[in-house]
């Protein structure tokens, strides 16, 4: 059993990584490259679990270097990218919805020698036209939605788009603008999977804000959530009020948005800025963080997870079987702990992502283009499952 697999992307630099959200069978990650000179590409990384082999396909993304990538939750062929475009000595980050050409899967697995082979190009579905609003930081799909709604965060604007006519047309259905003093540019955001998908959390500078998408108004604001810039956010998939954030103060904080004065918990394990934080989609005690200290840390936050310590034992069972009770007592509750620190990367890790198909698998991407796929340690996996 191989615990980790590395894949050295044939790319100069890369920041953007996403799991293919709609794909539930294959373990598949998408990586967007960042190069000002070459044609940028999207690498589709397939991990063959049984054979422990990585297969890679490449699609051409000729619009520009990719800063952010996100897969549609409904159609696995559809994705959005945020890319920078230089025109007239001006750099602007735009966003667009793309479709992968249907043929990419059919034996287009690039072999190492075959680099000259011309990769296929992504099919542009529509632009999320943002010329009026400025550079786009990220595009968010409606979680578990039908792939018809996306949000883009452009400078200090929140734009909610409706994708129509098979995503070939995007119209702004509503928008909100953050106004006030200080640095108002959004750095990250997350669409909450709870509350019927009506909530959004954004980060700008050191603050985290919650938005109600129905009224497009702010519902909470955690000022100074981090000592410095907030880099990323993620919602606990199972506990509706809980979210995790990370930032330049090297900390990962957990918030209950009903009590925003104090974080529920705070981790300080990284030795530099934390760029990415991700809850495991099914076992929310598992938390992945990636940092520019080149480390990826997998933590086990039992105390604030939706799964209580150990397992709930029914009262009936307890009274029936005294032995099991003793057994249960003997079993120590799991403590919040770091499960593993992964040091395979040699440059800053800007993105980490859980696989959409296998909850025990995750990928991390560092700036030098190295993608590492790791598994949750088997012992812990069994401990959680059994």
């Amino acid at each position: 059993f191989v615990n980790k697999l590395q894949y050295l992307a044939r790319i100069d630099r890369a920041r953007a990584l996403t799991a293919q959200t709609a794909e539930t069978d294959a373990i598949r990650f998408l990586v967007g490259t960042q190069s000002l000179k070459f044609d940028n590409q999207i690498h589709i990384i397939d991990f063959d679990d049984e054979n422990n082999v990585i297969n890679k396909s490449v699609l051409l993304h000729d619009a520009g270097e990719i800063w952010h990538i996100s897969g549609s939750p409904a159609d696995k062929a559809v994705l959005t990218t945020c890319y920078s475009k230089t025109s007239e000595s001006r750099v602007l980050t735009c966003a667009a919805v793309w479709r992968m050409p249907p043929e990419w899967e059919s034996g287009n697995h690039e072999s190492p020698d075959d680099s000259s082979n011309n990769p296929q190009t992504l099919e542009l579905l529509c632009h999320l036209d943002n010329t009026a609003h400025g550079s786009v930081a990220c595009v968010l799909w409606e979680p578990m939605g039908d792939g018809k709604r996306v949000i883009s965060l452009a400078e200090n604007h929140v734009l909610l788009w409706d994708l129509q006519e098979s995503s070939t047309k995007a119209t702004i259905s509503s928008s909100a603008t953050l106004e006030g003093k200080g640095q108002l540019k959004f750095t990250a955001g997350k669409w909450s999977p709870h509350h019927n998908n009506t909530q959004l959390a954004t980060a700008n500078d050191t603050a985290i804000r919650g938005w109600d998408l129905r009224s497009m108004s702010q519902i909470y604001c955690i000022e100074n959530a981090h000592g410095q810039l907030v880099r990323d956010l993620d919602f606990n998939p199972n506990k509706q009020y809980y979210l995790a954030s990370c930032g330049d103060d090297c900390k990962v904080k957990f918030w209950d948005v009903r009590h925003i004065n104090e974080p529920v918990k705070c981790l300080e394990e990284h030795s530099h800025w934390v760029w990415s934080v991700r809850y495991n989609h099914s076992h929310d005690q598992l938390l992945l963080t990636g940092s520019s200290d080149s480390r990826v840390i997998l933590s086990n936050m039992v105390s604030i997870s939706s799964e209580p310590f150990g397992h709930l034992v029914d009262d009936d069972e307890l009274s029936d079987n005294e032995e099991s009770q003793q057994e249960d007592k003997g079993k120590e509750p799991l403590q919040d702990s770091i499960i593993a620190t992964y040091e395979e990367h040699e440059d800053s890790v800007y993105a980490v992502e859980w696989s959409a198909a296998d909850p025990w698998l995750f990928a991390s991407l560092s700036y030098d283009g190295r993608l590492v796929i790791n598994r949750v340690p088997r012992a812990l996996k069994y401990r959680i499952l059994l």
Binding site: L36, S89, R90, T206, G227, S271
Partner: protein, 766 residues
């Protein structure tokens, strides 16, 4: 024995001789014998001498025969010899004659005088006999006279005796008769004690003779008066207005008047109670005016003292209950009073008051051996001592905070605005701060030490000997305070986590040094001092010095790390702003080092100075000889051109990765926010690492034009020129700056680097 044996022959000799036994002195005996010889006396019986002096020629011997002697002389001696012999003999005879004459004369004289004496005696005795006769006659007449006198006085004497008996009786009677009047007068004068004693004296007599009507009258009168008196006493007693002493006198008198003791006891107690109530209320009122704590102690003590004197055994139980209830109230008052004693200014006053309090209670314990009062009192003292320690701890804590505030203000005072010596330097501040704290701690220890002074009664209680010293002073005060210092220091790290602006970095540095000093020396000094002063015997486990030191060190480390973070953050923010706000694509050709870089170098230099004031230099790796002149050959030389120039042709994209990976393979992983060591170089290295890493990450988020890249080149070269000297390993600076330039090159739309020589010129121009 020996002398008997030796004497035996001589007695034999003596018995055989007829000489009288008065032959003690040899001299006299010799003369005596010579005389005897001369007179021819007692030749007989000289058997003993015969042995020696049988020789008839011995002229001194008893058997001297003149004929034989003469014949012998004649036969043996010549004429001349005979002549000589003769003359010698004549001479001897003459001297013997004169001796004899002298003796005779002497004897005669003596005899004469003896005769005179006897005659005189005869005369004297006669005279004496006459006088004796006269005396006896006189004696006889005296005897006669005296017999006569006594005979005549006999009657009168009997009469006088009788009369004096009557007199005393009469006096007694008079006393009895006067008694009612006297009692009345006493009653008037309120001399109750006299009245009672008088009545007591008369009581039994009256009792005895009550069958006689006159006595009966007196007795009745007395009864009435005494009744009245008792009434008055009772009245007085009931009124209770008089002093405790009067009251107890009252009780005493009433007791003598056979009042029922139990009732009296109750009454007395109730009186005492009301009196003490008043006292207590007074105390309660005084409580607000912060009077001395111990005024009430005396009254309780006094009362119980009097009470116990007066009231016999049977009342003991009542007394106990009484004292206990009152004492409970009193104690609650004292407790309240002590609790109000918040100010820590003068501990000796409190200790003295407690001592007095305790002393009085000890007195009660002597009066009432079984009472729980003294132990409760001791508890109060102990409690007060505990409270005091707590108060001192909090006072120390506030003092610590205050002095920190002072330091903060001193740090915040603008340097140079006033004269230079007005603002003390960091080492001075540190020294004064640590001195302040130490002195304060010492004075507190001295104050607390009063509790265990020898002349304080409660100092020899087991609590004050053991627990107070170890758990109270050592743990509760000293250890807690040190822990508090460490903890509050740590809080500075945490509370200041947001933006780092709340605590001035210099204060962090100062505190870190303070904690480190504590770790190295101060803690062990303080604890040794405490142990010595209080002779702490550790019955219970106490915090070891090492644990405290570890804590202090941890705090020092945290503070220093935080200092590095804060300072790094300040520089980082400058760098970040400078990168984020600039339009790097459309920038002009670099002519100067950007001002922000100069600022970074300036700030780093001032930090270097600041840290250097408190921390040692530290070790740095050996420099290459040309450190200052080292250039960015890596990217400015043609080799570097090769390094990334080809990477822009799609044919060989591997090279760059390979190169950079190989490069990274040989350089160690850099932990940016890693703990630093306690020295200047390490601190500066930490700060520079943080700053440059921020610079790198910011550069990676931007897109550069040709001149943007060149500007970065210039800036990095400038930083290189100045920053290497601060860090422990200059390669670290090289590596990070290299990464920055490389990243900028990668993010550059038109990567055509500037010539190294031009860069150098620009940098040297400033």
């Amino acid at each position: 024995p020996l002398w008997i044996k030796a004497a035996a022959p001589s007695t034999n000799n003596n018995s055989s001789s007829t000489t009288p036994p008065d032959s003690d002195p040899n001299g006299r005996r010799r003369i005596h014998s010579m005389l005897k010889l001369y007179y021819g006396l007692n030749e007989e019986g000289k058997a003993a001498d015969q042995a020696e002096s049988l020789d008839p020629c011995d002229i001194n011997g008893p058997h001297f025969d003149p004929e034989v002697y003469l014949n012998k002389l004649r036969k043996e001696c010549s004429l001349g010899e005979l002549m000589d012999h003769e003359s010698c003999m004549v001479k001897q005879i003459r001297s013997l004659d004169s001796d004899m004459q002298t003796l005779v004369y002497e004897n005669y004289n003596k005899f004469i005088s003896a005769t005179d004496t006897i005659r005189k005696m005869k005369n004297d005795f006669k005279k004496m006999e006459d006088e004796m006769d006269c005396l006896s006659a006189n004696m006889a007449s005296i005897t006669e006279f005296s017999a006569r006198i006594s005979g005549t006085l006999q009657d009168q004497h009997a009469q006088i005796t009788k009369l004096s008996g009557v007199h005393t009786l009469l006096r007694k009677l008079q006393f009895l008769f006067e008694l009612p009047a006297r009692l009345n007068k006493c009653l008037e004068l309120q001399a109750y004690a006299q009245a009672v004693s008088a009545h007591r004296r008369a009581r039994c007599v009256l009792q005895q003779y009550s069958h006689m009507p006159s006595f009966r009258g007196i007795q009745d009168d007395c009864h009435v008066i005494m009744e009245q008196l008792a009434q008055q006493l009772r009245q007085k007693f009931r009124d209770g207005g008089s002093s405790a002493k009067d009251l107890s006198e009252c009780v005493e008198l009433l007791l003598q008047l056979d009042e029922p003791a139990e009732e009296l006891c109750d009454k007395f107690l109730s009186h005492a109670q009301s009196r003490l109530e008043a006292d207590l209320q007074g105390l309660e009122a005084e409580l607000k005016d912060s009077a001395i704590t111990d005024t009430g102690g005396g009254s309780v003590q006094k009362t119980s003292e009097l009470a116990s004197k007066n009231i016999p055994e049977m009342a003991n139980g009542k007394l106990h209950v009484f004292v206990d209830t009152l004492a409970a109230r009193y104690f609650s008052l004292v407790e309240r009073r002590i609790q109000e004693e918040k100010g820590v200014s003068d501990n000796s006053l409190l200790v003295r008051a407690l001592d007095r309090f305790h002393r009085r209670l000890q007195a009660i314990s002597k009066l009432l051996p079984g009472s729980a009062v003294p132990s409760h009192g001791t508890e109060i003292v102990v409690q007060a001592a505990r409270e005091r320690i707590k108060q001192y701890l909090s006072a120390l804590q506030t003092f610590y905070h205050d002095s920190l505030t002072d330091v903060r203000q001193a740090l915040a005072a603008p340097r140079g605005a006033s004269s230079k010596d007005a603002t003390p330097s960091l080492p001075e501040l540190l020294a004064s701060l640590s001195n302040f704290i130490l002195n304060q701690l010492k004075s507190v220890l001295a104050s607390v030490h009063l509790f265990t002074a020898k002349d304080i009664t409660f100092s020899n209680k087991p609590y004050f000997k053991g627990e107070f010293c170890s758990q109270g002073v050592r743990e509760g005060l000293v250890v807690s305070f040190i822990k508090f210092i460490c903890q509050s220091s740590r809080q500075y790290c945490e509370s200041a986590g947001d933006r780092g602006g709340s605590t001035p970095p210099a204060l962090l540095l100062l505190l870190s040094r303070l904690c480190l000093d504590y770790e190295t020396s101060t803690i062990s000094y303080i604890l040794t001092l405490t142990d010595e002063q209080f002779l702490v015997q550790h019955h219970t486990p106490v915090t070891p010095v090492t644990a405290l030191c570890a804590e202090a060190r941890e705090a020092a480390q945290k503070l220093l790390n935080h200092y590095v973070k804060v300072q790094g953050l300040i520089i980082s923010q400058m760098l970040r702003k400078s990168v984020e706000t600039r339009d790097w694509v459309n920038t002009i050709e670099p002519r100067n080092v950007r001002a922000v870089m100069k600022r970074v170098v300036e700030d780093t230099t001032s930090i270097d100075v600041q840290v250097g004031l408190l921390y040692e230099e530290g070790v740095r790796k050996a420099h290459s000889s040309d450190s200052s002149k080292r250039t960015f050959s890596v990217y400015s030389s043609s080799r570097q051109q090769i390094r990334y120039a080809p990477s822009y042709t799609p044919s060989a994209p591997m090279d760059t990765n390979l190169l950079s990976n190989i490069h990274k393979l040989f350089s160690e992983r850099i932990d940016i926010f890693s703990p630093v060591e306690f020295n200047k170089v390490s601190v500066l290295t930490g700060i520079i690492k943080i700053s440059l890493k921020t610079f790198l990450e910011c550069v990676r988020l931007r897109t550069f034009g040709r001149y943007g890249l060149q500007q970065i080149q210039v800036d990095c070269h400038y930083l290189q020129m100045y920053l290497w000297r601060f860090v422990s390993d200059e390669n670290l600076v090289h590596f990070l700056l290299d990464e920055i330039v490389c990243s900028a090159a990668h993010r550059c739309l038109d990567p055509s680097p500037m010539e190294q020589s031009v860069i150098e010129v620009i940098c040297e121009r400033g």
